[in-house]
């Protein structure tokens, strides 16, 4: 076990009956890295988190967290990781303070022992100290949950979809906090269904149906997109979609925000394409080369599966 790995996963498998939730996953997270697990619901993210936090036992493969084996050394791992599962990991009927002091006692530390670590986050919560957690806004709940997960200064932090259901402003703030924690030497594994959050991470793993499609830096993921990508726009969006798909050289055409994205092969000729569409009655069509994003890569890899 090399000491510079916070998490090491090798061929991890977890089955529920006939369903394979995690299907031979291999990756590692370096110390002090902010690692994103990006994929839709049902991709196996939560199961992977539960395996790594020793809540589940794998059917095959092995994994280490902070140098400890997830099956043999479950106790040791539990003492040194922080975990924020899903959406509700707080006691809604307890106040902000009460939640924090409970989790501090749970991990056998004083509330003030690691205050320096949580102070920048907790300061925003301080005005609501006596408010019940259930009465906080989504963003505030998230911050409190993060404080509770950090209270014992874990070496590895597991965050399962911490930003789901939170508005964009709070989401942005939340990722900024994570970036700062990484500076404190805490390794973070965070799952999210939002592709646009990938760029906040040092490295990401794209996952779908229990498997990893890619493990890369965000830039590396985008650079791995081979072939050309075009953006197409026009007023008759729906009709345009069908018309574009019928053209020669168009591999895939899908809505992408206000535009449609086209992945193409060598037979594609932009001039011909425009002309054909004009002949079909689409007069306001715009076609331009586009830079691929993580989502384009994700879709392309999914198609290849």
């Amino acid at each position: 076990m090399t000491a510079d790995r916070a998490i090491r996963v090798e061929g991890l498998v977890k089955r529920y009956g006939t369903m394979t939730a995690v299907d031979g996953v291999t990756f590692d997270v370096r110390r002090g890295e902010l690692f994103g697990l990006i994929g839709p619901d049902g991709a196996g993210k939560t199961t992977l988190f539960r395996l790594l936090t020793t809540l589940l036992v794998p059917d095959a493969g092995r994994a280490e967290v902070d140098g400890f084996d997830i099956v043999r050394d479950a106790r040791a791992i539990r003492a040194r990781v922080g975990y924020m599962p899903g959406r509700f990991s707080l006691y809604q009927d307890l106040s902000v303070e009460e939640n924090l002091s409970f989790f501090a006692a749970l991990f056998g530390v004083g509330e003030r022992d690691n205050y320096d670590l949580i102070a920048p986050i907790y300061r925003q919560l301080e005005p609501f100290r006596t408010r019940r957690a259930g009465k906080l806004s989504g963003g505030m709940k998230q911050k409190l949950a993060l404080c509770c997960a950090l209270i014992h200064r874990p070496s590895v932090l597991f965050l399962d979809e911490p930003t789901t259901g939170v508005d964009p402003v709070s989401r942005g703030e939340f990722w900024e906090m994570l970036a700062r924690l990484r500076g404190e030497g805490i390794s973070i594994l965070a799952a999210t269904p939002y592709m646009d959050e990938a760029r906040r991470c040092d490295r990401v793993a794209l996952c779908d149906s229990g498997r990893l499609l890619a493990v890369e830096t965000p830039e590396g993921v985008v650079a791995s997109f081979d072939g050309e990508l075009y953006a197409l726009s026009g007023r008759e969006r729906y009709a345009l979609l069908a018309a574009a798909r019928a053209e020669a050289g168009v591999v895939a055409c899908y809505p992408f925000g206000a535009e449609h994205h086209l992945t193409v092969d060598e037979r594609f000729d932009p001039a011909h394409f425009r002309q054909h569409l004009a002949e079909a009655g689409f007069h306001d069509v715009e076609l331009r080369r586009a830079e691929p994003g993580i989502e384009d890569v994700f879709m392309k890899r999914m198609h290849h599966e």
Partner: protein, 248 residues
């Protein structure tokens, strides 16, 4: 039927709860066949506003018309001409696909014959024929969402209200879902989407952004980005929402 006719029109709509003004004099119009994105942070007043449009709650002041009917005096007529789908609840997991279609068709007063015809047509269109007798709970999330949308439009409503419809699905399924929405819009159905995911907003023909109960921006995504000199609707939203004084 005119393409520029307003299907939803709202004037100075206000809702107060005690001293708290949840919705503060909003005015806007949505035209037939538009996909209108109704954006705002948690607590900005989106849900309250949408409830008034659906005839589920009365405005404190102001007026509005949906599908040609007054939201105060004719809410029953409105309910029959709109469809509604939310991420949280739309279908019964323990009923089969066909049973769900029958149930909601019945709720909206379609005749059994008509329900069956539309069910067959709908299942064919979605490619769900073989799953007609599968329980909805056993379907993948993406399929459920597509089915939920199809069920919400079964009675051919004039307006469909979508409450954060596509959270958590994979990008491919999400696009298939938006294609369904485009198709419905192209067929003349007006789509009203509330969401706080800004990438979703880029798919809309026009968006409004609500902050603290008021509409702070209204226009096509391209217009707004130009006007506020930002690259994405996400940036614009943060710009506006940073000044928000209340949450949830």
């Amino acid at each position: 039927m005119n393409e520029h006719e307003a299907v939803i029109s709202v004037r100075e709509l206000t809702k107060r709860f005690g001293t708290f003004t949840a919705v503060d004099g909003i005015s806007f119009e949505v035209r037939r066949g538009e996909i209108f994105g109704f954006l705002g942070a948690n607590g900005a007043g989106k849900t309250t506003a949408m409830r008034m449009l659906c005839g589920l709650s009365y405005p404190t002041s102001g007026s509005g018309r949906v599908a040609g009917y007054d939201i105060v005096t004719q809410s029953e007529c409105i309910k029959r001409r709109i469809g509604y789908m939310s991420q949280r609840f739309s279908l019964y997991d323990d009923l089969t696909v066909l049973e769900n279609i029958r149930l909601f068709g019945g709720i909206y007063g379609l005749a059994p014959g008509a329900i069956l015809r539309r069910a067959v047509e709908l299942l064919g269109r979605l490619g769900f024929r073989r799953e007609a007798r599968t329980r909805v709970g056993a379907l993948p999330l993406g399929w459920k969402q597509k089915l939920a949308f199809a069920v919400a439009t079964l009675h051919r409503p004039e307006v469909v209200f979508l409450d954060e419809p596509t959270g958590g699905v994979d990008p491919v399924t999400r696009r298939q879902f938006w294609e369904l929405i485009y198709e419905a819009a192209a067929g003349g159905t007006t789509i009203f989407v509330t969401t706080h995911y800004m990438d979703e907003a880029e798919y809309c023909s026009r968006v409004s952004i609500m902050v603290d109960g008021r509409i702070r921006a209204l226009g096509t995504p391209a217009e707004l980005k130009r006007r506020f000199a930002v690259g994405t609707v996400d940036e614009l939203f943060r710009l506006l929402a940073r000044g928000a004084t209340r949450s949830e």
